[in-house]
């Protein structure tokens, strides 16, 4: 059962083609990694799926609904959540508020101006549960803009997964972290995406091969291979284009 299907998706910026006909099939429950050299268009692909950019051509199907060119909030409501490569939180709100905001829509509050948040015991408990998962429970009332970098990254993850979306997309979740921080983050990702579909862009190959069930290799806007980690490692095309040196050094 596939949850996300891209068919011949293209994206041009002016005359330059950044995504040149990507077709991809993500199965429900799988952990899928997208790798590729810098400038291959990985982040652009994420932006197309999550609605930040409109596609130039092609279709994106999520759980039976066509989502290309829909605004981000409509896509998010369908159960697709994402994180960002550059930390993207609500800096002057405290940690608790950050996560609670991310929970509001999926818990059916919509644009309500008649519910008092202080009285929504269940919502607040869920928020605390997410904070516990991402290890920020004791920072709940701390202004999120003043958190340490790794904690902000954890909050970034927390906002992405809070809504309980079926499909979680993480854009370089451990970028800029030290080795031990990254290890903790991978543990965290594994824990919080349990039973969900995960797509992630990541540069650290040890993490990619550790976490992913399948890997797609994106080179200059085209997917040159999609396969299991073992087969990707052995694929001569991939080795030629990109991987060889990295794998041996990793």
């Amino acid at each position: 059962m596939s949850i996300l299907t891209l068919k011949d998706v293209r994206k041009n910026f002016g005359v330059s083609e950044i995504i040149r006909g990507v077709s991809l099939d993500i199965k429900e429950g799988e952990k899928h990694a997208i790798i590729g050299p810098n400038g291959a268009g990985k982040s652009t692909l994420f932006h197309l799926i999550s609605g930040r950019y409109n596609v130039t051509a092609g279709t994106i199907n999520f759980n039976g609904a066509e989502i290309q060119n829909k605004p981000p909030y409509e896509i998010a409501r369908l159960g697709l959540a994402r994180s960002f490569q550059v930390t993207n939180i609500f800096p002057r709100l405290n940690v608790f508020e950050n996560v609670r905001c991310a929970l509001l829509w999926s818990n059916g509050y919509g644009y309500s101006f008649w519910h008092l948040l202080g009285k929504q015991t269940e919502l607040n408990e869920k928020t605390m549960h997410v904070l516990e998962q991402i290890g920020l429970k004791d920072k709940a009332l701390f202004p999120s803009g003043e958190l340490a970098y790794a904690q902000q990254r954890a909050l970034e993850l927390g906002i992405a997964i809070a809504s309980g979306a079926e499909l979680v997309m993480l854009d370089e979740p451990v970028a800029g972290m030290s080795h031990s921080e990254a290890e903790n983050a991978v543990e965290l990702i594994r824990r919080i995406t349990e039973g969900k579909t995960l797509i992630m862009v990541e540069h650290d190959m040890s993490i990619v091969f550790d976490v992913a069930d399948r890997i797609s290799v994106l080179v200059y806007g085209e997917i040159i291979a999609t396969d299991t980690p073992e087969n990707i490692r052995a694929n001569p095309k991939v080795q030629e284009a990109y991987l060889g040196e990295v794998v041996t050094s990793a």
């Binding site: 999550s50 609605g51 930040r52 605004p71 981000p72 909030y73 998010a76 409501r77 959540a81 994402r82 960002f84 993207n88 939180i89 609500f90 800096p91 002057r92 709100l93 508020e97 609670r100 905001c101 991310a102 509001l104 829509w105 999926s106 509050y109 919509g110 644009y111 309500s112 101006f113 008649w114 519910h115 008092l116 948040l117 202080g118 906002i159 809070a162 809504s163």
Partner: protein, 412 residues
Amino acid sequence: MGMIKKLSVWIGYLIVLLALPQFFDSILAISIFNQMAIAIVFSLSYNMLLGQGGMLSFGHAVYFGLGGFLAVHALILIEFETVYFSILFIPLIGGVIGLLAAIFIGSFSTRKAGTIFAMISLGIGELIAATSLIFTDFFGGEAGISGDRTFGPLFFGVDFAQDLEIYYLAAIWVFIATVFMYLFTQTPAGRMANAVRENPERAEFIGYSARRVRFISFCASGLFAGIAGGLFALNYEFITEENLNAITSGRVLLMAYIGGLGYFIGPIIGAVILTLMNSLLSNYSELWMLYLGIMFILTVMFLPRGFAGFIMMHQTAWLRGNLKQLALPYLISGIPAFLFSMTCVAMIEMMQTEEQSFSFFGMQLATDAALTWIVAITIAVAAFYATRRSLPQLRDAWESANAIPASEKTES
């Protein structure tokens, strides 16, 4: 702690509102309280836009003014017995009109925040103010329109002819409006307004249309601005074009900003301070607007979060029990700073007056004597120098009062 403490704050607020005329019952005082009541609701509604929602408006008077105009028209209808209802609900008419105007204008102006929103609000404000001058039948041209509030049905024998009676009516409305505006900040829509102010893009990725969130805040803000306009109509029984043009829009921005954006109580503080200054200082000096301008610029430069922000700055020191360490340094810097500003004020007044001598806090100053000027300039320079010299000490005291105690440091 939360529930009872919060409730007691609200009860205290209501008691203060209702008890004020017991302590100050002069005609002037009641008139000031009425102005304050209007200003509080108006600037709180402005804070919903700028402080809570991040939308800088240069045309907020539109909703206040339109609400006020319709409220005066409602008074006129009551007077000529076209309709018959109690004037208790006049502010609500203003509110509904403010809301309708906001629904219409917000439907296209809330697409973006930032500079674009500010420009649209400016354009709409000028447009409506200029248009109102053309339609003299409805808006009464430069002279405005007037009504009479005493023709409605009596409310337990009260006909609202007295300003004091209007004050109690206004106080109740202020209380209701404040409660609802506070509660709004505690709802999903209110909290998402903060989130959109902080980061509209991310808000879209957690399921919220930034535009829709802004639109809701915008409408709520228009509603309460209209209520303030209705209170204005009740209090003054007339309204002119000035109440929907850039002057009034600017005034509410000043009020909310000086009070402190982002803090719920900030605009209330701003409304109280500015109304007091407006009523009291304007009796003593023709130049009070100049002082207001200077005060505003200084606030933007040195206290970007206003008076409320200045008070809240001391929270850390207070929690650590170090507030009293700051008292002496504040006095050492504050006295010369105060002396400096008062000397400047004296000199400005001396330049302004055409009399040969005028009284300044009981002192008779000869404005044409060179000696007066030399003394004044000497005091000003000395006071300025003393203030500057004392600032490093104040800064040190501030840092030590806010420093993390050694015991906490070792824990974390």
